[in-house]
Amino acid sequence: MAGTAVRGRLIWQVATVATVTDETDAVRTIALDLPDWPGHHAGQHLDVRLTAEDGYSAERSYSIASADGEPVAITVERLDDGEVSPYLTQELRPGDQMEVRGPIGNWFTWGPHDGGPLLLIAGGSGVVPLRAILRHRQRSGSSVPARLLYSSRSLEDVIYREELDQYRGSAEVRYTLTRRQPPGWGGFAGRVDGAMLARIAWPASQRPLAFICGPTPFVEAVAELLVARRYPESRVKTERFGGA
């Protein structure tokens, strides 16, 4: 019945863990088997619900790490005092089940038809939906110019490093390491600021489309810097993450 296709998006679907991949010490990517998944767009997220034996349940939202048409995957960062992320990043194994609702969010998405040039700015685990955007851009053969500025505490904390480095030539990926840099590091260091953006942000005259994702203070500081560089607010899309 036509009604059930709509309901599939609204209700919780049972997902089975297909694979788990540790990206860094604290970050894991979980690929999910979702037989009735309607498909998703890069930038969207989903809600996860876990239920314990005693009926206690907890819900969290995670950005989808995979591109349009790829199997659903989420990348989760472990928060030491968290209730859900330690379970997802340490206990969860292939075959385990959870419930998923989604995909969610038609605003913070990008597809080739949205054009560019693209400026993607990530703070920590905020890189997840931006990675999905880069994957979608590559898989669709889009020639929209793209730059990613990824702020991370250290090189060891950078998620998807190998994959991001292989964009060399087709997209510009730069890291800024805020807490420690390896010996001989020639890249950016410290927080994203006006001087750094002067070197990596597309000029406003090119009508770039910016996506900023990360913790609230990061997103707001960077958005303000881009608006100061005369990016119209309508061309700066933001998604704020918070620990739950």
Binding site: V14, L50, E53, D54, A58, D81, E83, L92, D96, Q97
Partner: protein, 203 residues
């Protein structure tokens, strides 16, 4: 469809639960102090801060911060209960008992509507903010109350759900008739007694 169990998932273990005998129904004890708010944290400078008692659109009495600091204060240890089901036992506050302010105004009001920076309000019967049940607190755990927890001063009414302990409080409106405040208008109980589990309107 019943939800499948996620193997190995369980709620965070709560060391505070050992004191469960002192918890109202439906609550669990927490050792941290969650920050919950309905809006951005205000940052009123102390030179601009005042607490006023108002009635019918008129300010009857107001205190500046130095005047407020001159009032008698006491240190109390109380349990607090949030309607979102966490309780924190044995919290230590320093504050001015509300009667030290209310009693300086002659009135026959039965209710107050506490109001805060940012527009938050909450209503209480006068009898619930007197008799050693309510303070205007400015220190928490031996330190000046931080902004995210309601500083420089918040209402502290521990015998009711903690949404009644208005953060960033700036005064009280004296009322003849009870008038619902912010959360009371959005489906929460007008009184809010955690021991009778009065969470929502109609409980």
């Amino acid at each position: 469809m019943t939800s499948p169990v996620s193997r190995g998932f369980h709620r965070l273990s709560r060391p505070g639960d050992a004191q469960a005998g002192k918890l109202p129904p439906g609550q669990h004890a927490t050792t941290d102090f969650p920050v919950l708010s309905a809006g951005p944290t205000p940052h009123t400078p102390l030179q601009e801060w005042s607490f006023s008692i108002r009635r019918g659109g008129k300010t009857l009495r107001a205190w500046t911060w130095p005047e407020f600091m001159d009032l008698p204060a006491e240190t109390v240890t109380v349990d607090i209960h949030c309607v979102t089901r966490w309780s924190k036992l044995g919290t230590v506050w320093r504050g001015v008992p509300v009667p030290a302010l209310l009693d300086q105004v002659a009135h026959d009001a039965q209710y107050v509507l506490a109001f805060s920076d940012g527009g938050y309000t909450t209503n209480l019967p006068v009898k619930d903010v007197t008799g050693g049940q309510a303070w205007l607190a400015f220190d928490y755990d031996g330190q000046p109350l931080p902004p995210e927890h309601g500083g420089p001063a918040r209402l502290l009414v521990p015998h009711l759900y903690f949404w009644k302990s208005a953060k960033w409080v700036r005064g009280m409106e004296l009322l003849d008739h009870d008038q619902p405040g912010f959360w009371e208008n959005y489906g929460y109980n007008n009184y809010g007694d955690p021991w009778r589990e009065q969470r929502y309107a109609g409980d």
